[in-house]
Structure formats: C-alpha cells, structure tokens
Subunit: 255 residues, 2 copies
DNA sequence: GAGTGTGAAATTCTTCACAGCC
DNA sequence: GGCTGTGAAGAATTTCACACTC
C-alpha cells in the first residue's frame, strides 16, 4: 500500500510564497536561481526551500540550481492553479464586498462567480462584478454557478448554517472570515482567517512576551506596555464585549 | 538569569480562541467549565487547553474546572486587551476601507485612529469613521495619532516602503495584507495575512493532496480533481489517494 | 470521583551537514 | 567549484497518562 503522506498546510503555504517569488524573478528575466539566492532575496531558509521542493521530485540541478520558469510552472500545477476555481461570497457586507472587488480583478485561477446576502436592499445590486442574490438561495446559487470555494463573510452566528448550506451544495473548501469554529465536515476543508486573533497576537507583542511577564499580567500586575499612557477613553465603547462570539479554529502558519 | 521563554504565536492564537469561547459561555450564564467540556463544545483539544492555560499559572481548580469569568478576565489581560490599541490603516482602497469599517465596530481594545492613501481623490474623505490623510504624511500621522499597530492594505510594491515608514514612526506591530514578505525589522513584528496563499491552499485540497499525487502533478500528469461530477475521465489514476485527500480535518482529533 | 497540572512520549517541523551530481 | 537532495540531528509542538488536589 502506498503511504498516505499528506503534504502539510505549512509546506503548501510556502509553495505559494515560492511561486510568487519565482514570478518576480521571471519578470526580472532571471533564468536560474539557487536555494541560497532565493532565500537571501526573499528572507527564506535555503534548506527549507530545498526540502519543500524535493518533496515533489527533482526540480533542481545539482551544482546549478533551479530553472525559474520550469519550477514556477511545476508549482503552479501542484497548487492546482491551472484550473479555474469559482468562488461564492456569502455575505456582501463591507468585507464581502471588498473581497469580491479585490478578488474580482482578472485572475486566471480564482474568480468570484456569485454573491449572496440576506439584506433585501443589497439583493439585485452588482458588487465587484457579481450580482447579489438572496441568501436563502445559497445552496441553489452555489450549485448553479458550480462554485468550488465558499467565502464566508457573514456574522459569526450565521456562519455555521451558511457552512452547512455550502456543504449541502457540494463545495469542498471554505475560507471563513467569521470568528467561529465551524464543525468541520469531513472532506470539506475550512481555512479560518480571523482578524481578531491576528490583532490580539500583535497586541501581546506590544508588551513583554516572556512567560514570566504574562504570568504576572494574568495575575493582575501592571506590566509595562510601552507608551500607552494616554489612555484617552474612547467615548462610547461597549463596556463588555456583548457581541463576542464563539471561537475559531486552528492557526496555520501563519504565515 | 531569567529565561527568555517566549510564548509561541500558536499558543497566543489559541488563547484568543479560548477567550472568545469563554465569552460565549459567559453570555449563556455558564459559570464553570472543564477543559473537556470546552473542547467538546468548540472542537478543541482538552490537554492542549490545559497546557496552554497552565503556562500562565494555576487558573483552574483540580476536580472542578475553570471559573469562566475569572479565566476570561485573565486571558483578557494576558492578551493586553485592557489597553486600547490604535490602528493606522495604510491604503484605503477596497480592502482598507472595508477593514476600517469592519474594525470600526465598537471595540474597547482596538480602534482605527487614522487612514492614509496616495489617491488625491480619497484624501479628505471619511471612511469608517476616520479621515483619509495623505500617504506621504504616513509617519507623521502615525506619530500624531500615537498609533500602535499598522495595517498594510497597499499593493505589494508599496508595502516595503510603507513598512519602513511605520517603523520610522515607532510602531512595533504590523498586520500586512500585501502579498510580500517584508524584511522584518527586529522588534517590529509583522503578521502576514495573505489571501492568495489561503486560496491556493484550499485549491490544492480540491484535488488529491498526498505527496505521490502532487509529485505526479508537478511532472505534468492529470491527477483527478476528486469527484466533482464533470471530471469523470481521470477516475483511475491513484485510487488510493482519493480517500487520503479528504482528511486534515481537525489537527487535534485522533484519527 | 472529577479534573487540573505536568513530566514524559510521540509527533511534527526545521536545520544541519554532507554525499553525490553537475 | 557549486549546489541539490536527503539522512540524521535538533527544535518545537502536541498528546498521553497519571500524580495530585479539591
């Protein structure tokens, strides 16, 4: 039996990065590159590059390096970018609209083909090249457009139902911006992008980050934050996060 | 000598998630919770929860569990959410505008205090509660507003210079949406959010993801894009990979 | 009995270092 | 000489399992 060696998300994410770096070099007319040069130029690790690439066969030539174009082409295929992936955006609020526009620009691999929203005022309008359709038709719209990937930009409480509808419609990949951990259906991959989590990680970094300091913080001590003296309390803020929603999933690389 | 035990980003991200889960329980009136209950409810790993929390001192009570409110409060402090963090958004295009509005929602920990853009047509307008100022004044604006965290939503080629300007202005944390790896200045943390990378990871998962199949793909073979109706032709290649590809469900669930 | 906190094991990921090829 | 591909070492992270506490 062949082993079920899954390529890790970390590796895949790096392949995406490598591909972009290679495209840059291609534009500059560079034809060959060594792992060392790639690493120096884009702040990567040479041995990691070699290991990542070697995982998919001998891409390089010993003593020479990698052929920029052919390596790019191979990565392009590994990442399935030779197929067109159709996105359906669920929730055409600020974020959903922005993403539709952002992702709407001509790209041969990803295209937003549909958008749905529950706000009657938005239905029927055009945003970023797609017509906004009723949220209730989500599954039907997804099927009709043959969408591959769902993009969830709905509020947290609406996300689980939206996810189920996408699963129902046969999608197998979802990019989730809602701050909830979805109950992942086997075979339907969810990738979470949680702005809140990212910001909070950065916030911690603004103060001391060693375990001792954090332990003191937890206990209630005032560990210096840096410059935050001017705590002008910003007018009308919710005292407690009444809108706080459920959790989310696992980090990635981050990246 | 005190050890320089840095808390990992992975752990911090999970703390964010735990905090949100706890807020949800708080709203439901739950007062105590065990790591097992938390895990069951939000699809997490109980032992990981315990280890993450124990890192900051004894939060729980043996035989009983954790006090929801007091644990939430401690995490809130560890994550520095008791201070207000001021965000400056660089690039008020679609994504920047959306984020300004999105993050503009009343939150006591993060607030967008400024936005800059290089488009004269946008300067002077109000988006999501902030006045758009000239991109060229970036460093000055950041200083004046006492911004803590920079949000980069500029095109890739503008990002490195914008990052340097933020460093110059004294910021120590940057959330970067531009598809470039910034040359990270020591002490100024960069967190990348790369939609392209996320989408490409999902794209791979639409097909087989075992190393063998990817190797074939790289070599130019047509590996099936799993059971998506149309692609019937390629059914016989790599029968073993079809199942393996589905997985990668929960990192913590034992298979 | 129930459930945390934590050494120890297991697993995953990264880096080293060098054999082998150009 | 230069550089890849890779076994082996090393780090980091996760999971196990159980001593200990309430």
């Amino acid at each position: 039996m062949s082993e079920p060696v899954e390529t890790s998300a970390l590796t895949l994410n790096r392949l995406s990065v490598y591909l972009r770096c290679l495209r840059t070099l291609e534009c500059e007319g560079v034809q060959r590159v060594s792992s060392q040069e790639l690493a120096d130029r884009f702040h990567l690790s040479p041995s990691q590059i070699r290991r990542d690439l070697a995982q998919f066969g001998g891409f390089g030539v010993r003593g020479v390096g990698y052929d920029v174009s052919s390596l790019a082409e191979r990565l392009h295929r590994v990442l399935r970018l030779d197929a067109l992936h159709r996105l359906i955006v669920v929730g055409m609020g600020n974020l959903g609209s922005a993403l539709s526009t952002y992702l709407g620009f001509n790209d041969s691999s990803f295209q937003v083909v549909a958008g749905v929203d529950s706000d009657p005022g938005r239905i029927g309008t055009r945003i970023g090249g797609v017509l906004v359709e009723p949220y209730d038709d989500l599954a039907a719209v997804a099927r009709r457009c043959e969408a591959d990937i769902g993009v969830l930009t709905v509020p947290a409480d609406a996300a689980p139902a939206a996810y189920r509808a996408l699963v129902e419609a046969g999608l197998r990949a979802v990019l989730n911006f809602a701050p909830v951990l979805l109950d992942e259906v086997r075979g339907v991959r969810v990738k979470n992008v949680d702005l809140r989590v990212h910001l909070e990680e950065l916030a911690v970094h603004l103060g001391a980050t060693d375990a001792d300091s954090l332990r003191e913080l937890a206990a209630g001590a005032q560990v210096p934050a840096r410059d935050l003296e001017g705590r002008a309390d910003s007018a009308e803020i919710e005292p407690s996060s009444a809108l706080a929603a459920a959790g989310e999933a696992h980090p990635h690389r981050r990246g």
